[in-house]
């Protein structure tokens, strides 16, 4: 009986672990889609997937830490800007992290 209970408990634990990992993977897929959607709001100026043309700053391949630091400086005013100090204030910190992660994973334009 004890053996059975322990066996059952182990099975339940294993199930819980599997469930947690499935949930984590579903969550990460959702985050990836959300990151993609959020980053696409930047594309009008910074190019599709961050591959900018002309005088706009390319974001594709920029490290997430560097981009987040830059965005924080726009927000604080430490980095002067024409427009980014106004735009960055429209996004939450978790959204900016997703955006930065997405651009870091993109290939820079050749």
């Amino acid at each position: 009986m004890i053996h059975t209970v322990r066996h059952g408990a182990l099975a339940a634990l294993a199930c819980a672990g599997l469930l947690a990992s499935t949930q984590a993977s579903a969550q990460s897929a959702q985050d990836a889609t959300l990151a993609r959607n959020l980053a696409a709001t930047c594309a009008n100026c910074h190019g599709t997937n961050g591959q900018a043309r002309g005088d706009m700053k390319p974001l594709a391949g920029m490290s997430a830490d560097k981009l987040l630091a830059l965005l924080a400086d726009y927000r604080s005013g430490a980095q002067p800007a024409t427009i980014m100090h106004q735009i960055v204030k429209g996004y939450t910190e978790p959204q900016l992290k997703l955006i930065a992660g997405y651009f870091a994973a993109q290939k820079p334009k050749q």
Partner: protein, 436 residues
Amino acid sequence: MTRRTVNPSQIDPVSSPARRRWLAAGAALGGTALAGCTTMASGPSIGRVVVVGGGFGGATAARYLKMWGGNVDVTLVERNAQFVSCPISNLVVGGYRQIGDVTRGYDGLKALGVKVVQGDVVAIDAAAKKLRLASGTELAWDRLVLSPGIGFMTNEVGGLQGALDAGRVVHAWQAGAQTVALRNQLTAMRDGGVVAISIPKVPYRCPPGPYERACMIASYLKTAKPKSKLLVLDANPEVQSKKALFEKAFADHYKGILEYRPNAELKEVSGGVAKLEFEDVKADVLNVVPPQRAADLARTAGVVNINNRWAGVDWLTMESTAVKGVHVLGDATFPAPTMPKSGHMANQHAKLAAAAIIQLLKGEPVNATPVVMNTCYSFVTQRDVIHVASVHQYDAADKTVKPVPGSGGVSVAANQIEGRYALSWAENIWADMLAL
């Protein structure tokens, strides 16, 4: 496996020669050729989406449906052979750009696998999920995207339709031949002539657009025809966007040439005379931006359900609140609070819709927290530019997107750095929508 499942019920005469070429190439080169194309969409199609209107909204939707959805069958129906951008077209009016500079093709979308069909939609059967073109071709869909742009309520101004038909008055509020016609009228006008611009009451496409146009025309007159005058006849009580910055530009650069008149609603057009409530204005060149509503195609589809003018949408999906399975983008929509009717915003609508449509086709939940943002640059001289920007986040309680308090704003002053950014913005958004 790159070959898409061919649905026999799909009426698709335009792309069939292309498909035959694909199949022929596969047959000639054997299986390895097909296996080599793994970057192309594989497996059966997850659904058919027809997009009507190849402007900022529709073209972006087609591009992102392909880029994000992969094996979605996407057909883009557009009346014109090429895209002509309204943004930057005021530089053409001023003589600082040619119409070719704001014209781009649809080859990039075709290369992505979007079936681009040039034609006019004449009938939409939302229940049967199909539409018919003037050519008689029928297209069936699982989801329909309408990005039809604006229509003109010319009946609100006496004589306007006839004057537009005769070419005596131009609107130049849909870029292309009208833009060129306005430019030609300006160059043909004698020095000492009078140009008048009529601005309708809000809401209309591109809130700062008429004031940018005023600057561009005044800039041309100042250099080429300095004895001339420009009258800006605004039906609204004041400048509707970037007010202080435009007023400063009017005063700093165009004093003595440009005269701004608020509360000057156009009632009637007769010959070269613009009739207002209390006075008649005689103009050599009369540019009337007519009062606007969603384009007639939106009416045809049955999606016009707000004020008998605009299409209401669900801001999580851009799906019409009137007709299921039909998504509406851009200027034709009834906007969320403070949301401008702009090409930039239409592009953002399109990405929101593309993401949602792909998830709906897959039976997945849609993004519950969408964000859209807007940036609009306006030229006040040939090189000096001012902007307005805003960011809008979804509010679940009110089921709409709302501007984020403390975000957004306008330029401190007109400047040449933003002049360069404005042109780069155009190159980037045109590339983004058309896969250039």
